[in-house]
């Protein structure tokens, strides 16, 4: 679904991404982990096209085969099936919930029944949203905003979702529900690249994980293997054995 090779990104003169390589298959939920500031969020921004790639390539598999999107603007990448859910959600505060959903949905120009189906799919995953359609985005709670941020992308029928810190700022219960929703997306055939501060929760949800350090992928393994290797976990993620033992 998604293939990234040797991706380099600069912010001004600082070399932020120094050759990121990763792959994502259909229906696969993969974690992108690492300490703060190693370039996880920048990777997602570069994949959707919000920051320009200096070098390397991003390819998406569409019905017409693999397509190079490295130089395309974000809206064309979205049309090819890349969905992006940013850190802090970035709901449009003065648009209602319904209008927030329409922003992407209207681009698809779906017929009535198909359109209702796309919305229904989002409401099936997050029933609470249907009750708040006419409320402005700014009055929603953190959990509702996160649901809306994900639903807003889901109605676009994406092949791949780039998901940045979905459980940030949520209560443990909501965070768990969010991770369950992420797992369900994988079950529906959507590839999910998940950036998550809470490495343990991410490893519970994902089959594989990439670990980043200093703008590169430094390690890549099955989630089960990573969990079983506390030394690697502590060295690469700062997760100590104590934390892992905690419930």
């Amino acid at each position: 679904m998604l293939r990234v090779t040797d991706l380099h990104v600069f912010y001004g003169k600082s070399h932020i991404l120094r050759g990121v390589d990763l792959e994502l298959a259909a229906g696969e939920v993969v974690a992108l982990l690492g300490r703060n500031g190693v370039g996880k969020s920048t990777t997602l921004k570069a994949l959707i096209g919000l920051v320009p790639a200096h070098q390397g390539s991003v390819r998406v598999r569409t019905d017409a085969g693999w397509q190079e999107v490295t130089r395309l603007p974000p809206w064309e990448r979205a049309a090819l099936g890349l969905g992006y859910v940013p850190e802090e959600r970035r709901i449009f505060p003065h648009l209602t919930v319904g209008e927030n959903l329409r922003v992407g949905l209207d681009r698809l120009r779906l017929a009535g029944a198909e359109r209702r189906h796309a919305l229904q799919r989002a409401f099936d995953l997050f029933p609470a949203l249907a009750d708040h359609l006419h409320r402005p985005g700014r009055v929603l709670s953190g959990g509702q905003q996160q649901m809306l941020a994900l639903a807003r992308v889901l109605v676009l029928r994406p092949r791949v979702i780039l998901l940045d810190e979905p459980s940030q700022g949520l209560s443990p219960l909501l965070a768990e529900a969010m991770m369950e929703a992420v797992a369900r997306l994988g079950g529906e055939g959507i590839g999910v690249l998940l950036v998550e501060q809470n490495a343990l929760a991410a490893l519970d949800t994902c089959r594989r994980a990439y670990i980043m350090d200093k703008g590169r992928i430094c390690h890549h393994d099955e989630a089960v293997a990573l969990r079983a290797d506390p030394v690697a976990m502590e060295r690469m993620l700062g997760v100590t054995a104590d934390e892992e033992a905690a419930p």
């Binding site: 959707i48 809206w75 979205a78 049309a79 940013p86 648009l95 922003v103 681009r107």
Partner: protein, 288 residues
């Protein structure tokens, strides 16, 4: 002061105000959504007025036929500017856009001066006669200005509230990068905003032409006031710019009861300054 004079000036203020609102609403859309300060916006208003005059001189017999023709012409010019000069200076520092659009304003103003001369052209009122407005008899055309202006303003507002492009316009204003990531074709949204703003300014110019005459400097005279109206209404706030426009029209008209016109203008600027000091974020803030 009699009640009749007050009523008369209130109505006059509303007709000025509607014209201000037509100009300011376009500025606020461009500024709020594209972060683009277009000093040449006043010239689109001026060209709307010249357009309607020209079509009538050419021999389109009817003002109401000349109106859409003039608006289409200005809209086309707005899009041509967007496609040529403005395209290159988007996302530049504000000083660049200020200077570049000021340059465009000068070129348009001097161009019109060179072609049509410095003298004010008079237009016959397209709707003659007086209408009874309670105790006073009031020029029918001014009521038409108020009516047509308000219909256009409300129509554009409904477009912004309900249509796909309207939702995209507001989404881009609130978070451009996020809108782009969700599939909104941002350059096309800018084009629609430019078209809408040009058309609104042109309608203002067409409606104003029979009231104030048509002259090369009419755009330059109104643009500063329009920018202050935009600040009062809250940057990017369409409804705010309309309220601000009507407010400034009323201040000028009511001031004229006691003051000379230039003093009334000064008074209006004083009110605007006071409002800016008291509510720097605008009357309605920048809610979009």
């Amino acid at each position: 002061m009699s009640g009749e004079v007050l009523l008369l000036q209130l109505a006059n203020g509303l007709s000025f105000g509607v014209i201000f609102a037509l100009i300011a609403s376009g500025i606020t859309l461009m500024w709020g959504i594209m972060d683009f300060i277009n000093i040449a916006h006043g010239e689109l208003y001026m060209l709307g007025a010249y357009g309607v005059w020209l079509w009538l001189v050419i021999g389109v017999g009817d003002f109401w036929l000349a109106l859409p023709l003039a608006v289409m012409g200005v809209l086309g010019l707005g899009l041509a500017l967007r496609g040529t000069v403005l395209r290159r200076i988007f996302d530049r520092p504000p000083l660049h856009t200020l200077l570049a659009t000021y340059g465009i304003a000068l070129i348009l103003q001097q161009g019109v001066l060179a072609i049509f001369g410095p003298f004010t052209k008079e237009l016959a009122l397209p709707v003659g006669g007086l209408v009874s407005l309670g105790p006073v008899r009031y020029p029918a055309y001014r009521l038409v200005v108020i009516g047509v202006g308000l219909v256009i303003i409300v129509g554009a507002w409904i477009l912004i509230q309900r249509s796909t492009y309207g939702i995209w316009i507001r989404a881009v204003a609130q978070d451009r990068a996020m809108a782009a990531a969700l599939g909104v074709p941002v350059p096309r949204v800018y084009t629609v905003v430019m078209a809408l703003a040009s058309a609104l300014a042109a309608v203002g110019g067409v409606l104003a032409a029979p009231l104030f005459g048509v002259s090369p400097t009419m755009g330059g005279e109104i643009i500063l006031l329009a920018f202050i109206v935009v600040m009062i209404g809250g940057l990017g706030n369409y409804v705010g710019s309309v309220i601000g426009g009507v407010l400034i029209g009323e201040v000028i008209a009511l001031g004229a009861i006691w003051l000379q016109p230039t003093e009334a203008y000064l008074g209006a600027l004083g009110v605007l300054l006071a409002l800016l000091l008291l509510r720097p974020a605008g009357l309605l803030r920048a809610a979009r």
